[in-house]
């Protein structure tokens, strides 16, 4: 996800890095991307067929994500090979490849978001804020990592610092919009699910004595108002505010400690954000197990 940032460095902002740093940052981004792709196969029940996941680009957002992520990897390899060839100088070739990386990175983020946003049975996901949040959070976390990286080697460029702060501000705005959007239950009710709209409907018996695939996969307790408020505060405070303060303090300085702090806070906040994203997603099938509305 911070591939984009590397590309931005290449394109607009010249080279605030020494080029060895540039390549090291690219290597880290590459490793993170590979790790992400590999770990995405861990949740598969039948990973032997994972290679077939590129078959349905025409309809499936998951397939589109896979294709754009793999293309992004390939182009990145070629890009760095090109940089090495020209001994670190930007050439026409690397500019073209850099643009391609930018587009593919964006495509990967959008397609990832659309996997969730395309799921109609989950009202908390089926909305336009979700893909926007994936793009903005992806860029922001990449920017923080890049800022921290810069703070190790040489001082953080003011342009990079301002960029990071802007993205963190945007992330706060988008996430606040998202939480506002899902604040009120807007999905179907148990009456709509069963079609019995003439009176109140209650579950008498689920028909099974023990958990099933459906209850294990989709059944989750609703967070209390204070509970979700607390976790949202963690997302905003630790995920966005702490990295923002650290990034602002890092501008023009060389401070590995602040860099580590920013990255650790950002990724802890992101972990809570993603966990909350899943916990707050209420699948419609829960209505058949007695939930009154989702």
């Amino acid at each position: 996800m911070l591939m984009l940032l590397v590309a931005l460095q290449e394109l607009g902002l010249g080279a605030p890095f020494p080029h060895t740093g540039h390549i090291a940052a690219g290597g880290l981004a590459f490793l993170l991307l590979v790790a992400g792709l590999v770990s995405s196969t861990f949740h598969l029940a039948n990973p032997r067929n994972a290679w077939k996941a590129f078959n349905r680009v025409r309809t499936s957002w998951l397939s589109r994500e896979g294709v754009s992520a793999v293309l992004l990897l390939l182009v990145t390899v070629v890009y760095f090979a090109g940089l090495g060839w020209s001994s670190g100088q930007s050439t026409a070739l690397t500019t073209i490849l850099g643009t391609l990386i930018l587009l593919l990175g964006l495509a990967t983020l959008v397609t990832t978001g659309m996997i969730y946003a395309s799921l109609k049975p989950i009202p908390q996901w089926h909305n336009p804020v979700v893909p926007i949040a994936f793009v903005v959070l992806g860029l922001a976390s990449g920017a923080v990592t890049l800022t921290a990286f810069a703070s190790f080697s040489m001082g953080v460029d003011p342009i990079l610092g301002a960029f990071t702060l802007t993205l963190l501000g945007l992330a706060t705005l988008v996430k606040a919009t998202y939480y506002l959007w899902i604040g009120k239950a807007s999905g179907p009710t148990i009456q709509r699910a069963t079609g019995m709209t003439r009176a109140q409907v209650r579950l008498l018996d689920t028909g099974h004595s023990h958990p099933t695939f459906l209850t294990r996969e989709f059944g989750r307790n609703l967070l209390s108002r204070t509970g979700s408020g607390l976790f949202r505060a963690i997302v905003f405070g630790i995920g966005f505010l702490v990295p923002a303060i650290a990034s602002a303090a890092m501008i023009g300085e060389t401070s590995p400690l602040l860099g580590v702090l920013a990255v650790v806070a950002m990724f802890s906040g992101m972990a809570v954000e993603r966990w909350l994203f899943f916990v707050e997603a209420q699948h419609v099938v829960n209505l058949y197990h007695g939930r009154q509305r989702v």
């Binding site: 949740h43 598969l44 029940a45 039948n46 990973p47 032997r48 067929n49 994972a50 077939k52 996941a53 590129f54 078959n55 349905r56 309809t59 499936s60 957002w61 998951l62 397939s63 896979g66 996997i115 395309s118 799921l119 109609k120 049975p121 989950i122 179907p188 709509r192 699910a193 069963t194 079609g195 019995m196 003439r198 009176a199 109140q200 409907v201 209650r202 579950l203 008498l204 018996d205 689920t206 028909g207 099974h208 004595s209 023990h210 958990p211 099933t212 695939f213 459906l214 996969e217 989709f218 699948h283 419609v284 099938v285 058949y288 197990h289």
Partner: protein, 233 residues
């Protein structure tokens, strides 16, 4: 042709025979086995294509118990098919049956997430997704008598609460039932256009349970009351 089921909620008594017959037939069918995890243990669980839930609608005394069988609705706009990245999940053009190619499925669960009706269940033993096949390996089998070329759940139902047929054909029995009894879709607002239809329960007059003996005022009633009391002594 659009094959599907029509389920009569007025007749279903919630005996789970359809679920058992489904499990029995499909365990050795095209998608079999339907794995059970520790079936004899304290925490049994397993794959079922058909599940029956029981609801209460309304408040006593105007309440009724509704038994609610659910299996794949074989939707016209089936998101479970479009989200599948491998092409394992598909909808047959000739009869609209939604199936899963077990050789292509990678077990990512996305189709189960895309289904609002809980029709799909992952088989943890094979690592692949499984679902109702509408007994595709039975309804076209010319080796069995024609009357029996129906899904196992339909044949076994002791109260004839399940009907199988072509919902595209306006003259079919199932289409007639849907017309006459006001058959409806589950959550049509989600836009999946399910093929299976549900027939609502009929509304019997509620049986009064409070103030059964209303105080009546007429002279004749009072005399009758008094006479009754004397006679019962």
């Amino acid at each position: 042709m659009r094959l599907g089921l029509v389920i009569d909620l007025d007749r279903c008594v919630g005996c789970h025979a359809c679920a058992v017959a489904c499990k029995e037939w499909n365990s050795s069918g095209t998608l079999g086995p339907l794995s059970d995890y520790v079936p004899e243990g304290l925490d049994p669980s397993g794959v079922w294509f058909n599940r029956i839930r029981h609801y209460e609608c309304g408040d006593y005394p105007d309440s009724e118990t509704v038994n609610f069988p659910m299996s794949c609705l074989h939707c016209e706009d089936a998101d479970c098919v479009t989200v599948c990245p491998t092409g394992a999940s598909y909808k047959r053009e000739e009869d609209g049956i939604v199936l899963i190619d077990q050789d292509k499925c990678m077990g990512c669960n996305l189709c189960a997430w895309a289904c609002p009706y809980g029709a799909r269940e992952l088989d943890e033993d094979s690592g692949t997704m499984k679902k109702c096949t509408l007994c595709v390996d039975r309804i076209y089998d010319e080796q069995i008598p024609e009357a029996q070329r129906q899904p196992a759940c339909v044949i076994v139902c002791p109260t004839h609460a399940r009907f199988f047929g072509d919902l595209d054909d306006p003259d079919s029995d199932v289409s007639g039932l849907v017309r006459d009894r006001g058959g409806y879709d589950l959550m049509p607002e989600l836009g999946y256009k399910p093929t299976n239809k549900y027939l609502p329960t009929r509304q019997p007059p509620s049986i009064p349970t409070t103030q059964v003996k209303a105080k009546s005022g007429s002279l004749l009633d009072k005399i009758r009351d008094r006479v009754n009391r004397v006679v019962s002594r």
